[in-house]
């Protein structure tokens, strides 16, 4: 059963990713990106990460994607005829070959490693949100604060960049 869900989420997210890159109209690309993000959040559910699922749906689909769509509608772009870069084929062939080889290597690898202290049974006991919160506000508090400062800087930067520039004083005197 889990295998069926995994196959569904994986295949649809890959297909949506390819559509995001190849579709012509930017709004269609954004909608394909919507499908990709929701199916990736389904993969998070399969990995016992309910909190990240909620964050993915709220932040990515609810905030970031709406921002993209908002800017797309605001700019009202015309679709240009040659929407691929002229040297697209030079990238595409080596990329596909390299990807196939990397996937072949990945499927062979066992990926062993040192186990941490949060097995699935212990996480499920209190819930994923509890486990993430305890870990974040004890061991990773500094990173949390840094991300907060980063977001503040991003907000200020976005406002400063997108503000309509004031006309110069000299022009105002002339009027």
């Amino acid at each position: 059963m889990v295998l069926v869900f995994f196959a569904y989420f994986a295949l649809i997210s890959i297909a949506a990713g390819v559509l995001t890159v190849t579709l012509r109209h930017p709004v269609h690309c954004a909608l394909a990106l919507l499908a990709l993000l929701t199916h990736v959040s389904g993969l998070f559910i399969l990995l016992n990460a309910e909190f990240l699922w909620a964050v993915q749906v709220i932040v990515y689909v609810g905030a970031i994607l709406v921002l993209y769509l908002f800017v797309l509608m605001l700019l009202n772009l015309k679709t240009d005829e040659r929407y691929f870069h002229p040297s697209a084929l030079y990238f595409l062939g080596p990329a596909v070959l390299g990807a196939v080889y990397v996937i072949f290597l990945l499927m062979r690898s066992p990926f062993g490693g040192a186990k941490g202290n949060a097995p699935a049974s212990a996480v499920l006991l209190e819930g994923d949100t509890y486990a993430v919160g305890i870990k974040m506000f004890s061991d990773h508090l500094l990173q949390f604060e840094i991300v907060g400062i980063f977001l503040l800087g991003a907000i200020i930067g976005a406002i400063v960049l997108a503000k309509t520039p004031k006309p110069l004083d000299a022009e105002k005197d002339r009027l």
């Binding site: 990515y60 921002l67 700019l75 980063f150």
Partner: protein, 100 residues
């Protein structure tokens, strides 16, 4: 039980798709969307390793990556608006003001 390498393979395919999108597309907004695809691929990788190696740190880093993606989208789209206001184009080939 799904092997860890299956998740890593999905993540690698998505990352390669995003990379091809960044290199190939000419519309700046779609280049930014391809960067989002790459960040999602990294998130799948982190959460999968966090689950299979029984550690919580991967999920935390994925959470921070989502926050950084939000900031990147806000600043990137603001830059697009500024460029569009001046040049009426979002083609990456025509943005060469800083090139010398």
């Amino acid at each position: 039980m799904i092997p860890l390498s299956a998740y890593v393979a999905v993540s690698a395919i998505l990352f390669m798709t995003g990379l091809v999108g960044v290199l190939v597309r000419r519309n700046f907004i779609i280049v930014l969307m391809s960067v989002e695809i790459m960040m999602n691929a990294a998130n799948i990788n982190l959460v999968a390793f966090s689950h299979y190696l029984e550690s919580m740190a991967g999920q935390l880093v994925a959470l921070f990556i989502i926050a950084i993606a939000a900031g990147e989208a806000a600043v990137g789209l603001a830059i697009i608006i500024v460029v569009f206001r001046g040049k009426i184009s979002t083609n990456v080939d025509e943005m060469n003001l800083l090139k010398w």
